[in-house]
Amino acid sequence: MTSAVELSGITKRFGDVVAVDNVDLSIADGEFFAMLGPSGCGKTTTLRLIAGLEFPTEGSLSIFGQEVGTLTPDKRPVNTVFQNYALFPHLTVLENVGFGLKMQGIDKETTRRRSMEMIELVQLDGLAERKPSQMSGGQQQRVALARALVNQPKVLLLDEPLGALDLKLRQEMQLELKKLQRDVGISFVFVTHDQEEALTMSDRIAVMDDGKLLQVATPEEIYERPANRFVADFIGQTNLLEGTVSDSETVILENGVSVRAKNGFSAGTHVAVSLRPERAHIQSQGEFEEGWSHVNGFVETVTYLGNALIYGIKLDWMDLEVREENHPGVELYKPGAEITVSWDPDAISVVSD
């Protein structure tokens, strides 16, 4: 099956700035695909390349097998939901939604009917005659979605569509977007710099940094088996314990202690063991689960979250963060308490730069 969007060796330069650096990427039809990365890493540029609002400096780009590298946006079966919606302020909701159809020369009657259907689909019935300025952020968001989807694109591009909404609305819209995507059945390519949003919504995630694609994988894979130090650190919380590979089963930490850590690096490679706070466990000093790796330290800070406790742990050579669920009867440690941190050797990952 041909993929919906295929980038091979795509590079985009703006003068001296390399915004997108030799990216290979293939997005399947019907996939909810997130592009994640820190500010300025090239997410928007990648999206604009797919939309045709920028042309690649190098490489080839195809949509459903058709090479579109230098085709203008009107010749591509994709539409975009812009970062700040970019609704036309002088037009009503109905006119905004119908804009694409009108430009394609579709007759007034059909344009109106299809626009109304789409407005209904995004639950804006009754607001068709409003101007964008008379709507809330969430409503504007829906207009932007309707305006793009009414053209029946094969791929929908969304640039931080939820970025401007407050937390609660954001969570509601996340669910709605996901449902909408299932209903229309096309691929959504979705830019965000919120890793939680990417994890909860996507079928697959591409992590970018500095124009380069670091890893493309499912949320589970990205979380459990990050490709490198940057991904491990960027996705979720983690502790990075520096060390050196001894063999494929063992890493020697900075303080000289060997821990079991399955890895694919050759001996002597400088690596970090990524230990997620919720994968570590605290007990009184000297106690730990059978067969688990362990280090000694003491409690420096305790943060009470209600459903969990975050311990700031001081080791001889570094600090750790450990998260314990607040089960009934869980043992609470006070700052200063001497403890042992232990973890299941299978619950960690080993990463290098």
């Binding site: 946006p73 812009f82 700040n84 970019a86 804009f99 430009m103």
Partner: protein, 276 residues
């Protein structure tokens, strides 16, 4: 409704007085001008009973009527041309990058900065040479008048129009144009259906400014007018030299009414747009 930052007590009273003073400075001369234009006395400053004679004189004088119609013709023509060119200049500066853009940008505002007299002398020289050249080449026999005045007015009005339109363009997201293009609009249609409606208020403002400046201009027009062909303000200046009579008041009131009609028209036009 009173908030904590509103002035109170004597400060509030002083603010009121200040307001009235400002209004007085603005409008007292206008009111006096209108009153004395109906005065039946050859002396501008004395009241000699009500009369419409000065208006009759004005409209009876073929010179005065000619000057008025010249002014209006030039204002309309130079406004249309300078709005088109000024808007295009604004678009190119706000939306495109090209070689020599910075230089073009700086040069575009020169007519606003340089003094009227300088501009007038430049124009005089230019038309002296230019019309001679055209005459020599094509035997057109152009005389100074409508064309020389219009071209001069266009020359400075382009700058003013482009400043106003550019301010409007700068406040408009380029996102909107990209969204239009993403929604299958050609460049032209994106301009026609998205950019243009957004900048219409700027264009209208620019047009109004251009028209006012053209109707107002004395210095430059006087230099490039040529014999026997003048605009109303230049005609008024000529009258003063022969001695000041309330005829000048009548002419001025007529100009005032024309300008105010223009403003009212533009406001009505914008209202209609908004509600329609």
């Amino acid at each position: 409704m009173s908030t904590s930052v509103e002035p109170r007590g004597w400060a509030k009273a002083a603010l009121h007085v200040n307001g009235w003073f400002v209004y007085m400075f603005f409008y007292a001369p206008i009111v006096l001008l209108v009153i004395y234009s109906f005065s039946n006395s050859r002396n501008v400053g004395t009241w000699g009973g009500f009369t419409l004679d000065w208006y009759r004189d004005f409209f009876d004088s073929s010179n005065a009527r000619g000057a008025l119609s010249n002014s209006v013709k030039i204002a309309i023509f130079s406004t249309i041309i300078s709005v088109v060119l000024g808007t295009m200049a604004a678009l190119s500066l706000e939306r495109f990058t090209f070689r020599g853009k910075k230089v073009f940008d700086a040069l575009l505002y020169l007519p606003i900065i340089i003094p009227d007299v300088t501009m007038a002398v430049m124009m005089l020289l230019f038309f002296g040479e230019f019309f001679d050249v055209l005459d020599a080449l094509f035997g057109l026999g152009l005389r100074k008048g409508f064309w020389s005045i219009s071209i001069s007015h266009i020359a400075f009005n382009i700058s003013f129009v482009s400043v106003v339109v550019r301010a409007r363009l700068a406040g408009m997201d380029t996102d909107l144009e990209e969204a239009a293009i993403d929604l299958y609009a050609s460049r032209w249609k994106a301009f026609r259906y998205v950019t243009f409606p957004q900048i219409v208020p700027g264009i209208a403002g620019g047009a109004l400014l251009a028209m006012t400046l053209s109707l107002d201009d004395v210095v430059i027009t006087q230099f490039v007018a040529g014999p026997g062909w003048t605009t109303l303000p230049v005609y008024v200046f000529g009258l003063i030299r022969k001695g000041v009579t309330p005829l000048i008041n009548a002419v001025s009131v007529t100009m005032l009414v024309v300008s105010m009609l223009l403003v009212v028209l533009s406001i009505v036009a914008q209202r209609v747009r908004r509600s329609g």
